[in-house]
C-alpha cells in the first residue's frame, strides 16, 4: 500500500477533526445549570392506600368532590371507595353507592341483606387515578390534550380536550369520566394544585385513619416511600403493563 505525504497529512488532519468535532456537541454546564437540568427528576408522585385501615366513611370522596369542583350529585367522581364482602359460602359481593360519597351505613349490598354470621371477610378499597408510568389514556389521545408531567402526574388540558372519550375507554381502571359541566374528560390528578404547594391531596387530609398517603418516590427519606420500597405492597391490574403508581397494602385477590 502506497501513501503519499500529501494523503497522509490530509487523512491525519481530517481524522483529528472527526474525533474532536463531536466533543464540541457537549456543553459545559455551570453548577446551577446542571442542577436545573436534573431538577425534573427529583419528584415522582406516588400514592399508598392501606386497605386495612379504611373504614368506609367516604369523607375522602366528599372532600375530593368539593375540592375539585366535581358536581356533587352527578354520578361521577375522581375517587371512590368500594366495599367487598366475601361470604362463607364463597360469594364475593361488591358495591360503591354514589362512589361511597355518603359512606357505608348498612349491611345491605345491592339490595341484598347479608347475614353478618355469613361474612367471611369484608373490607373497603379506595380507588383513584394510578398516574401510570405508561398511561394508556395518554397514548390514545388524538389531540395531545392529556399528558404526563415531569413529576409523573397525568393531567388533562381542559382547553384542548375535544371530549371524544377515547381515554375514558382506554383506562383499564375506569378512573376517567366525562365532566358534565366542562364537557371534557376528567380524572384524579393527586390534587396537583395542592401537592405542588406542599400540601396533601384533599382525600389524604380528610382521611382520619391514615388509609391514604402520598409519597415522593425520588425522596428516599420520605416515610411513605420507605413503606412502598421496603414493605409488601401490590398494584391493581399489573398485567396491563401500565406501571400504576398507586400502591396498596392488604390488597385482596377478589379486588378488581
Amino acid at each position: 500500500m502506497s501513501c503519499s505525504r500529501r494523503d497522509f497529512l490530509k487523512d491525519a488532519v481530517s481524522g483529528a477533526a472527526a474525533t474532536v468535532l463531536p466533543l464540541s456537541a457537549f456543553t459545559f454546564l455551570t453548577t446551577d445549570e446542571a442542577k436545573a437540568a436534573i431538577a425534573e427528576a427529583t419528584v415522582r408522585w406516588a400514592f399508598l392506600v392501606d386497605t386495612t385501615k379504611c373504614v368506609g366513611c367516604g369523607l375522602c370522596v366528599k372532600a375530593c368532590k368539593n375540592e375539585n369542583e366535581i358536581p356533587y350529585d352527578a354520578p361521577v367522581t375522581r375517587t371512590w371507595v368500594e366495599r367487598y364482602v366475601v361470604t362463607k359460602d364463597g360469594r364475593t359481593l361488591a358495591d360503591s353507592p354514589n362512589g361511597g360519597r355518603d359512606g357505608f351505613t348498612t349491611g345491605t349490598i345491592r339490595g341484598e341483606e347479608i347475614d353478618p354470621e355469613n361474612v367471611a371477610k369484608a373490607f373497603f378499597v379506595p380507588k383513584l387515578c394510578n398516574q401510570c408510568d405508561n398511561p394508556a389514556c395518554v397514548q390514545v389521545c388524538p389531540v395531545g390534550a392529556t399528558y404526563q408531567t415531569h413529576d409523573g402526574v397525568v393531567l388533562i388540558d381542559r382547553e384542548w380536550c375535544i371530549g371524544c372519550g377515547y381515554c375514558i375507554m382506554a383506562c383499564p381502571y375506569g378512573v376517567r369520566f366525562f365532566h358534565p359541566e366542562h364537557k371534557v374528560a376528567d380524572k384524579c390528578n393527586f390534587c396537583y394544585h395542592r401537592i405542588t404547594k406542599g400540601m396533601q391531596p384533599a382525600c389524604v387530609d380528610s382521611c382520619a385513619f391514615g388509609a391514604r398517603r402520598i409519597a415522593n418516590l425520588r425522596d428516599p427519606d420520605d416515610p411513605v416511600t420507605q413503606i412502598i420500597t421496603t414493605e409488601r405492597v401490590a398494584v391493581l391490574k399489573d398485567e396491563y403493563g401500565t406501571k400504576p403508581h398507586v400502591f396498596y397494602i392488604g390488597l385482596d385477590a377478589s379486588v378488581r
Binding site: 361474612v119 382547553e159 390528578n189 382520619a208
Partner: protein
C-alpha cells in the same frame, strides 16, 4: 395532463396548504414535546401552570386554629383528634370566603355524618369493627347525635 384532473388536484393542494396556514395561528406556541417521550409528553406547557393555580378549598386545621384556638384544643385532646375540622364544617376556602362570607361554611350536624363511621357493620377483622358503633334503629332514633355528644370531644356530654 387534462384540466379536469389538474383542477381538483390544485384545490386539494390548496386545502392542505390552508390547513397548515390555519395551524400556525390556532396551535399555541408552547405546544410541543416537553419531556422525553412524544407519546406521553406532547402537550401545551402552560396547562401545567393552570392546574397549579386551581383554587384550594380545604385549608386544613392549622388555618382554623389561627382563630378558633379553644375548639381546636378541645378537639385535639379527644378521640376525634384525627378528624379535620373541615370534614364536618365544610371547606373554608378558597381564601376570601371564610370568615368574610358567613354563608360559606355550612356546618353539618346531621346524624348521617356521624353514622359514616359509627353505624354498626359487623365485619370480622375490619378496621370499621373497632370503632364504637350503634344500630341506627335501636339507639335514639331520629335524634341528632350532637344533642347529647360533644363532637369535638365525644367523651364529654353536652351540658
Amino acid at each position: 395532463m387534462k384540466r379536469h384532473v389538474l383542477h381538483p388536484l390544485w384545490v386539494a393542494i390548496g386545502l392542505v396548504g390552508l390547513i397548515f396556514l390555519a395551524r400556525l395561528f390556532v396551535v399555541p406556541d408552547d405546544f410541543g414535546v416537553h419531556g422525553d417521550s412524544f407519546t406521553y409528553n406532547y402537550h401545551r406547557l402552560s396547562n401545567v401552570q393552570e392546574w397549579q393555580e386551581f383554587p384550594v378549598k380545604y385549608q386544613g386545621r392549622d388555618s382554623c386554629a389561627e382563630c378558633h384556638k379553644d375548639n381546636v384544643r378541645t378537639q385535639r385532646r379527644g378521640p376525634h383528634k384525627r378528624i379535620q375540622c373541615e370534614n364536618c364544617h365544610g371547606p373554608s376556602g378558597p381564601p376570601g370566603n371564610h370568615p368574610d362570607n358567613e354563608e360559606y361554611l355550612p356546618l353539618n350536624k346531621e346524624r348521617d355524618l356521624c353514622m359514616r363511621c359509627h353505624a354498626s357493620l359487623e365485619y370480622p377483622d375490619a378496621a370499621r369493627s373497632e370503632l364504637p358503633a350503634i344500630h341506627d334503629r335501636r339507639h335514639k332514633r331520629r335524634r341528632e347525635c350532637v344533642e347529647c355528644h360533644n363532637p369535638h370531644d365525644p367523651r364529654e356530654d353536652v351540658e
